[in-house]
Symmetry: C2
C-alpha cells in the first residue's frame, strides 16, 4: 500500500465516528450502526453496546464479527470513491471496572461527549474487536488487503493534516 | 410507529446514498459499503456490485444478507442519535437485459451520475434485496421493529420536506 493510501486510511480510522457492525443472528447476517474507538496502534477497535441490542445478543452467541468504517458522504462526492475499511475478527466483552475500563471510559467520553448516559445505565459495556484481517477500498477499484501488522504500520504513518 | 418516525424513516431511505451490506463469508460475518436504490414502495432495495468484490462472491454462496442505512454524520450531531435502519432478507441476482434492467439502469444513473462505468464493465450486475424484517432506530433508545408491510406503509407517508 502506498503512502497516500496509508495516510488516507489512518485519517479515516481516526476521524470517523460511526461504523457498521456485522454479526451472526440465527446463522444469518445482521448489521447495525455502532460508535467505535480505535486503539492508538490499531491493534483493536472498541465499541460500547447495550445488552438490549440485537448485535450484543449476537456477539454473546458467536464472537465472530466484521466492522466497516466508511468515509462520510457529502453532496460534492462521488459515493463510489468514498474510502472504506472492512475488519473481520472476534469480539470480546470487557469488564466495567479496573484501569483498562477507566482509560477507555475517559477516551470514549472525550470522543463522544454525549455518551455519559451509557455509563449510568447498567446494560452497557465495552467490547474489544481484534482484527484478523482487513480490506481497504481507497476508492473505485483501489483495493488493498491488510494483515493486522499492516494496520499497525498504518497507525505509525505520519497523520494526514486535518481537513 | 408514530408519524414523525415514519417521516424520518422515509427521508432516511430516499436521501441516503450509501449503505452497509452484511454477508456470510466462510460462515462468518462480512460487511462492506454499497450504493443502493430503493423501490418506490420499499418492497425491494437494489444494489449494483462487481463479481470481483467479496460481498458478491458471498451472496453467490449464500443469499442471506442484511443492509444497514444510516443517517449521514455531521459535527453538529450526537452520533448516538443518528437514525438508522437494518433490513434482513435475501439477495437475488438480476439479469443485465430487458425492461426491468433498463428501468433500474435509468434510475441508478439518475441517482449516481458517475456510475456509468459500471455499465461498461462486464463484472457488474444488479442484485435485488427483498426485506423479510426490519429494525429502525430513530435515535438513542427509540427502536421499532417492522415487517415488510410496515415498510410499504412508510413509503406511502407524505414525504418530509427536503432539508
Amino acid at each position: 500500500m502506498d503512502a497516500e493510501a496509508q495516510a488516507l486510511l489512518q485519517a479515516l480510522l481516526r476521524r470517523t465516528r460511526i461504523a457498521s457492525l456485522a454479526t451472526l443472528r440465527g446463522g444469518a447476517p445482521n448489521v447495525s450502526m455502532v460508535l467505535y474507538l480505535p486503539e492508538d496502534d490499531f491493534t483493536a477497535f472498541h465499541i460500547r453496546v447495550s445488552r438490549l441490542a440485537w448485535h450484543t445478543q449476537d456477539m454473546q452467541d458467536d464472537a465472530r464479527v466484521a466492522l466497516s468504517i466508511q468515509e462520510t458522504d457529502a453532496p460534492s462526492r462521488d459515493p463510489q470513491q468514498l474510502a472504506r475499511l472492512t475488519l473481520r475478527g472476534e469480539a470480546t466483552r470487557l469488564t466495567e471496572e479496573g484501569a483498562q475500563f477507566e482509560r477507555l471510559k475517559a477516551a470514549w467520553l472525550a470522543r463522544y461527549p454525549d455518551a455519559g448516559v451509557t455509563f449510568e445505565l447498567p446494560d452497557f459495556s465495552f467490547w474489544r474487536i481484534a482484527p484478523r484481517e482487513a480490506r481497504f477500498v481507497a476508492g473505485f477499484a483501489r483495493t488493498f488487503n491488510l494483515a493486522p501488522e499492516g494496520l499497525v504500520e498504518v497507525a505509525k504513518t505520519r497523520a494526514a493534516p486535518a481537513t
